[in-house]
């Protein structure tokens, strides 16, 4: 048996009160009689003088106590599990997305779901096969087809709250595939514990909704810009509840408070708050609401402050104004020039060989070959070809170049090596390609820029920027912000001997260094992650921020769930009886009896 509202049992404290009232305030109808002589004789025989003995025979009191008992139990809404093992196969799906961290009747939705699921397991038949799934970013089988209830319960209890976004509906097809084998046998039952609507379609399924109205505001976004070495930080906050909220936003640089600002958030509205002129050397910034609310996970947002490192570029050319001009526009880049005759010094991040290649290539650094001569030691170059209209491949490096329209008059015939990818074709001949050759990023431009009008198009500086950014490892997109559950491409430097990722809780992961590297997906925690790349004796540390997926998980989705799927209503429908109605019936009966007794005066 289980009580839906155990708090109602506090009303039981009224019972002694009623008894006390009977003892203290026994109201006597005063009646004068001729003589109590006879009554004394009667009372001598029936000792009813002490209060307790008076109570002993007081039918009304007992009826009243009984009715209180029934009333209190009716209020506490008991539920008796009549038969548990109605289904020999039980599939439990628990939504473990970020929104399940929201508060639900003094608990979190997830904890409530776990409790309900635990009860469900405990009253399933002894031979029931239990399958437990969780849905975070994608469905995950926690335990499959076990008859060991204890194991299932311990697995259930071990479920940790997730912060990622996800769709419980993704699990429906998985569940359908699972239950297919059960059909025809003694049946199955799938139970979804979630806060968002599930389309269970034709499954023998039930949805236990844990959706509830939330008082919640979220910090959606943090960003910054630099102005004379100072930061201007922008924070966006949204009120996701149905009433206005006032919030205080604290801004931190690393772990130091930089500023605090108040913001009034009308219901459902988003506001942007600026923190201006923050002088900080922090490598990450984050903002937080001072006030707590029903979903605390979205009350902070993190961002990484990027430092613009200077990359050294050596241009080996007899003079190429086009490439010089294009590179000079790129911030954080120092351009050095030298003649092909001179020795090539080591220590540059990028070497650009324009129409000439030295006999000995530098040992490190990326390489860009423009109009490569034969015997360059990197790619096979053939005879000069007649050019034509350039055809640009779709690729991150050629981004924003969709409308590029230029021609190349002459180009080198290049044999496309296995490690490369073609970026630009001219008459089906590769005119530009890139890739990693012997562990260094290498790009080849198969024509002299002077033999093309490419340098005159608006797309040219974009292409040079993208190419240089790729070659120098500048994250051109600047992506340092992710949401929980995202898979992150780490892209370590080629010579790196070890890569470690430290999550905000200090846990250290060591992803395997393979090529291509598996994306890093342990992003369940929100906060700042540190990526450390060991390169010989030095370490290169960079950070990225992982935030709570506010867009999908901070929704106040109380209205999205049908009434009959509410947690209380749903449990009752499962092989048990709700006692409330019976108790109310009994209560009425007792009250009627009480009335009769009172009228008849027994």
């Amino acid at each position: 048996m289980r009580l839906f509202s155990p708090w109602a049992l506090w009303f039981l404290s009224f019972m002694p009160l009623v008894v006390l009232m009977y003892i203290l305030k026994q109201k006597f109808e005063e009646r004068q009689i001729s003589s109590i002589y006879l009554w004394q004789q009667v009372l001598k025989d029936i000792e009813v003088n002490t209060p307790w003995q008076k109570l002993k025979r007081n039918l009304l009191l007992f009826l009243q106590l009984l009715s209180i008992l029934f009333l209190v139990f009716a209020l506490s809404d008991p539920y008796i599990y009549t038969r548990g093992g109605m289904y020999s196969n039980l599939v439990i799906v628990i939504d473990n997305t970020g929104s399940m961290n929201a508060r639900y009747e003094g608990n979190t939705r997830l904890e409530q779901a776990k409790q309900l699921a635990e009860e469900m397991i405990s009253r399933s038949g002894t031979k029931s096969n239990i399958t437990l799934l969780t849905v975070e970013r994608s469905p995950k089988v926690e335990i499959g087809k076990t008859t060991d209830k204890g194991e299932a319960v311990s697995k259930l209890r071990a479920i940790k709250p997730g912060n990622s976004s996800g769709d419980i509906n993704d699990s429906v097809s998985l569940v359908r595939a699972m239950v297919k084998q059960y059909e025809g046998s003694s049946g199955y039952k799938a139970v979804f514990y979630t806060d968002s609507p599930v389309d269970t379609e034709d499954l023998n399924a039930e949805t236990v909704s844990l959706a509830s109205e939330l008082t919640n505001a979220s910090l959606d976004y943090i960003s910054y810009s630099r102005d004379n070495g100072r930061l201007i930080v922008l924070v966006r906050a949204t009120n996701r509840s149905s009433r206005a909220l006032s919030r205080e936003i604290s801004l931190y640089g690393n772990d130091k408070v930089l500023d605090i600002k108040s913001v009034e958030l009308p219901a459902g509205e988003t506001k942007t708050v600026y923190f201006e002129e923050m002088g900080t050397n922090a490598h990450y910034i984050w903002a937080e609401f001072t006030e707590k609310d029903d979903l605390e996970e979205d009350n902070q947002v993190y961002g990484v402050v990027k430092f613009t490192e200077t990359n050294k570029v050596l241009l080996i050319s007899t003079g190429n104004v086009f490439i010089e001009k294009a590179l000079s526009n790129i911030k954080g880049l120092e351009l050095y020039k030298t003649n092909p005759e001179e020795d090539v010094e080591a220590g540059y991040d990028l070497y650009i060989f324009d129409s000439a290649v030295p006999e000995v290539l530098p040992k490190s650094g990326s390489v860009l070959l423009i109009n490569p001569p034969p015997d360059n030691g990197i790619i096979e170059v053939g005879a000069e070809l007649q050019g034509g209209i350039a055809d640009i491949a779709v690729h991150p490096i050629t981004r924003y170049m969709e409308n590029a329209d230029f021609t190349v008059s002459k180009l080198k015939s290049i044999e496309v090596p296995f490690w490369s990818e073609v970026l630009i074709n001219v008459d089906r001949n590769a005119a530009a390609l890139y890739g990693e050759y012997k562990g260094r990023k290498t790009a080849v431009l198969g024509f002299d820029l002077h033999n093309s009008d490419f340098a005159l198009t608006t797309e040219y500086p974009i292409f040079v920027y993208n190419l240089a950014a790729y070659l120098m490892g500048i994250n051109s997109e600047g992506r340092t912000s992710y949401v929980c559950g995202d898979s992150i491409e780490l892209n370590p430097d080629p010579e790196v001997s070890e890569v470690t990722v430290e999550n905000p809780e200090g846990e250290i992961f060591r992803p395997e260094l393979t090529y291509p590297m598996l994306p890093f997906d342990k992003t369940g925690q929100f906060g700042i992650y540190e990526l450390t790349q060991k390169l010989g004796g030095t370490e290169k540390i960079s950070s990225f921020a992982v935030n709570f997926p506010v867009e999908s998980e901070s929704m106040n989705n109380r209205w999205l769930v049908p009434e009959d799927q509410k947690a209380a209503a749903a449990v009752a429908a499962l092989g048990g009886t709700r006692m409330q109605e019976w108790l109310i019936g009994l209560l009425l009966l007792v009250t009627a009896v009480e009335w009769v007794v009172y009228i008849r005066g027994y």
Binding site: F28, E29, S34, I36, G601
Partner: protein
């Protein structure tokens, strides 16, 4: 006492009653009625064997001739009886619906009237506390009005100790003692009855109870208040309790009745709700007080 109890209508009723019945008396100073006691009179009653001390003038010698045994002739003695009416005038008698005191007064009136009609002497005694307040001895029908006045002006108040009251009464000779009471008397009535019998009184106890005493209509929590002593008693009335009361009441009545029959006294139990005529014709006749 408010309205007169003995109004014209009642007196008319009295006449009808008296015409129909006569009172049985066996003591007193030679009245106008046949007494049950045997004695010297012209009206023969019975024979009895001679015993020492008998007046040998009454020996029936003819009988001696026939049976060779001495027999004494017994005659009905006609005497004037002394009728003492005792009324318990405690507060408890002033209770009941109708009041027990009213029944007592009316029945006393009827019995007095009948007695006076028979040329008997009547004395009304009002018992209150430990005192006896008695009327003058009345001995003619014309004095009934005084008797009625005395009865009507009786006060019912306080506690009455029947035993000590009655013991204070002096009796000059044998007679009839009629006691009207509810006998809710902690000391019982035994001592008084014994005293009366010792004083050669023919004892008639008329036990008057109110309907609510015979069948208490109570329910729930009741605080009983004694009208005489002011004593309180809290009870919760249950069917079981009422049953117990009924048992106790019967035991109470039977106790007195048994005691009376043992002592040769007459006991009549009357409800104050009963019509006077019914009481007189049925209860009194059955008890043999009147015939």
């Amino acid at each position: 006492m408010g309205d007169r109890i003995f109004d014209a209508e009642f007196l008319k009723k009295l006449d009808t009653i008296v015409i129909n019945v006569r009172m049985m008396m066996n003591t007193g100073s030679g009245g106008n009625r046949k007494s049950r006691s045997k004695g010297s009179s012209v009206e023969f009653s019975d024979f009895r064997e001679y015993s020492m001390g008998d007046d040998f003038r009454r020996i029936d010698w003819n009988a001696y001739g026939r049976f060779d045994k001495l027999f004494v002739k017994l005659f009905m003695e006609e005497r004037e009886a002394m009728v003492n009416i005792f009324i318990d005038s405690s507060r408890s008698m002033y209770f009941g619906e109708p009041k027990k005191s009213l029944s007592a007064i009316k029945l006393s009136g009827i019995l007095s009237y009948m007695a006076l009609n028979n040329l008997d002497r009547v004395c009304i005694n009002s018992l209150s506390g430990t005192l006896v307040r008695q009327s003058t001895a009345l001995n003619s029908r014309g004095m009934f009005q005084r008797c009625a006045d005395f009865l009507e002006n009786m006060q019912f108040d306080g506690i009455t100790d029947l035993n000590s009251c009655i013991k204070k009464k002096e009796f000059k000779g044998s007679g009839v003692a009629i006691v009207f009471s509810d006998f809710f008397n902690p000391g019982g009535i035994e001592a008084a009855v014994k005293y009366l019998l010792y004083k050669k009184q023919d004892v008639i106890l008329v036990h008057i109870l109110a309907p609510e005493e015979l069948n208490p209509a109570m329910e729930g929590q009741v605080r009983l208040l004694d009208s005489e002593t002011g004593e309180e008693r809290d009870i919760s009335v249950t069917p079981a309790l009422l049953k117990q009361y009924d048992k106790e009441l019967n035991a109470f009545i039977n106790n007195i009745r048994e005691f009376c029959s043992r002592m040769g006294a007459t006991y009549i139990q009357v409800s104050s709700a009963e019509p006077i005529e019914k009481t007189v014709f049925e209860e009194f006749t059955r008890a043999g007080i009147i015939y």
